[in-house]
């Protein structure tokens, strides 16, 4: 089965998922991102790599951070950017996703950045678009959020360059998390030897260990001697689905407090994809503490998204 993200020559055509991407391409994106980190510090925060191209942000599901960083990234590359919150426009009028895509293609869009509540939406769109168009998955259901996974490993690489010697723990609602899935694939592809997931059984997918992770249910055991702690956001609706009794009990068992963090290596870094629920999955003292790299993640997110767009545009 051909990987729909790659051209026949093995180059990146769409970015739909980290799974199935070779290490070479991940490193190409990360190295390119490195060169874009400095752009934000210039007086003129622009490079002309996407001049004359139209990037269309299609958000079938709400987002602030991801949408904004994609917009900034495209603008810094000098692209024309349109952002559509489709959840509030055509979808409510009954238009199908593919009709929306066809209309925007007729307006000569070159790249689609897509977020959708259903797993597989980006794959479906990529299968359908004209050959000159690239699709970037900005989050599809529980499946994937590849630019988040990339910006996370970019951040890790910045602070812990020895990827081959790391122990990383991902904590929280792995079951519903596209971020966790992309992080797991990015970390394992880049050769991180030990990736752990820590969560109650209700928040882990069946057979999750087949994704190449070690499963822990006890935070204290799972955090022992890790170099990186990646927290996941806990959605409030999990309580209604009988997956958890209360946010208080969750915080007590799986919330990251300074005491629990002390079990990790002393120089461990703490990450979170945002938006954070302070006092639910993470204590403010940790979120704002010296080991937190949560805001740098956001900054690097722009560079990583610039890198992805620039590579897809053929630069």
């Amino acid at each position: 089965m051909q990987n729909p993200q790659l051209t026949n020559d093995g180059e990146l055509k769409h970015l739909l998922s980290i799974e199935g991407l070779p290490k070479r391409i991940l490193n190409q994106i990360l190295d390119t991102a490195e060169s874009f980190v400095g752009v934000a510090e210039r007086e003129v925060k622009k490079v002309p790599l996407l001049r004359g191209k139209t990037v269309c942000n299609l958000f079938f599901e709400n987002s602030t951070r991801t949408r904004t960083t994609f917009e900034i990234a495209a603008k810094r590359l000098s692209a024309d950017v349109i952002t559509l919150n489709v959840s509030t426009s055509s979808q409510s009028k009954g238009e199908t996703i593919l009709d929306t895509i066809d209309n925007l293609t007729a307006m000569h869009a070159d790249m689609f950045v897509v977020r959708h509540a259903q797993s597989g939406a980006a794959h479906m769109i990529a299968k359908h678009v004209a050959p000159h168009i690239s699709v970037i998955n900005a989050g599809d259901g529980r499946h994937a959020h590849p630019t988040q996974g990339l910006l996370d490993v970019f951040t890790i690489r910045k602070y812990k360059p020895e990827m081959h010697n790391l122990r990383v723990a991902i904590v929280g609602d792995v079951l519903h998390s596209r971020v966790a899935r992309s992080e797991i694939h990015a970390l394992t592809t880049l050769g991180v030897p030990e990736v752990r997931v820590i969560a109650p059984k209700t928040l882990l997918p069946q057979d999750v260990e087949k994704l190449g992770v070690h499963v822990f249910h006890d935070m204290k055991e799972g955090l022992k001697d890790v170099d990186v702690v990646m927290m996941l956001r806990l959605q409030n609706e999990r309580m209604a689905g009988a997956m958890l009794p209360s946010s208080q009990e969750y915080f007590k068992t799986y919330g990251l407090t300074p005491e629990k963090l002390a079990l990790a290596k002393p120089d461990a870094i703490v990450m979170h994809p945002g938006p954070m629920n302070r006092g639910v999955e993470i204590d403010s003292a940790v979120a704002d503490g010296s080991q937190s790299v949560i805001l740098p993640q956001v900054t690097y997110g722009i560079a990583v998204r610039m890198a992805v767009m620039s590579i897809l545009a053929g630069n």
């Binding site: 797993s119 597989g120 794959h123 259901g141 529980r142 899935r181 997918p205 069946q206 057979d207 087949k210």
Partner: protein
Amino acid sequence: MKIHIKNGHLIDPKNGIDAKQDLYIAAGKIASIGKVPEGFVANQTIDATDLIIIPGLVDLSARLREPGFEHKATLESEMLAAAAGGVTSLACPPDTDPVLDEPGLVEMLKHRAKQLNQAHVYPLGALTHQLAGKEITEMCELSEAGCVGFSQADVAIKDTQVLWRAMQYAATFGFTVWLRPEEPYLAKDGVAHDGEVAARLGLKGIPTAAETLAIASILRIAKETGAKVHLCRLSTSEGVEMVRAAKKTGQQVTCDVSANHLHLTDFDIGYFDANTHLKPPVRSQRDKTALSNGLADGTIDAICSDHTPVDDDAKLYPFAEAEAGATGLELLLPLTLKWAEDNKLKLSDAIKHITQVPANILGVAAGDLSVNASADVCVFDPKKYWKIEPKALLSQGKNTPFLGLELAGKVKYTLVNGHVVHG
């Protein structure tokens, strides 16, 4: 009309025939096998050299989509598909719109099908009104109108008291209750087997326990009430084991598997191929092997096509939102042949699962080539490979997980009541 089918290899599992034999048909019935009946002069001779002659296929589940879903398929289109697939008798589930819960609707469907003069259509009536799982239907009336059993299609009854009563009532009159075992709460919103692939793709899983729990309740209630039960579309290894155990104790239960599930696993979902979105979900390799073994050892009685034509538009959604189902009437024979070949089984041992055995489950006179039986016959070329693609299919539904595959087994002639409906 007298037809002579000559030089073919005839397989009739019921009568234990597996040999080169000529078939003689007169007045819509099988007149003789092997020797020419006295005074027989054929109006038509079919040369079946290198071809195989079998009873017309009996399919335990084919959605014809009428009434209500004519944009997906019509009786006309699907009866042509049945003929092209060698299917001469089929049972259709009651999940039409309106639901087959009134005698008038059943009579109309039977009448329309009869007018087309092709495959015999045996409707399954709804077990409960609107399939809502609350009130039982007028089963006696529906039976008189032509229903051969009562089913909930894909809608499970949540209230076990209703299930109990429905089975009691059906048992009173000896009607068979057809149920697809799926516990609705555990299966809620699920679209894929709860395993590694669902974990990777971020699809909501349906655990094995959704099937085993349902089988446990159904078998228990059936035993207590004395109802005859047919379990539809087994999908799990554990489910097969439970049926095997029940049969060992002598419980009266039959079951089927869809041809899709004999060949597919969750890995075939690939990159969210909506054509593999089926009910029940395709499961693991271990489950697939267990289904295959269960069929071979007789635990599973029949193979059905689970024909569910879906319009192209309904598949153009992300996996979970795409409508479940695949076209199947034209694939039942080739997929059964492939199963036989993959498992090195005698052809006749495979053919019985799509002829004699399902006919017994339906309780209709079909699925064999006995003298004086209705001349429902399928003549096919076992060596002819054909590519599964939209233009090769007569069904209005063009969606199947097997698109692009080449399968052996092409139907050359289909006869219903002694007249040629395909070929």
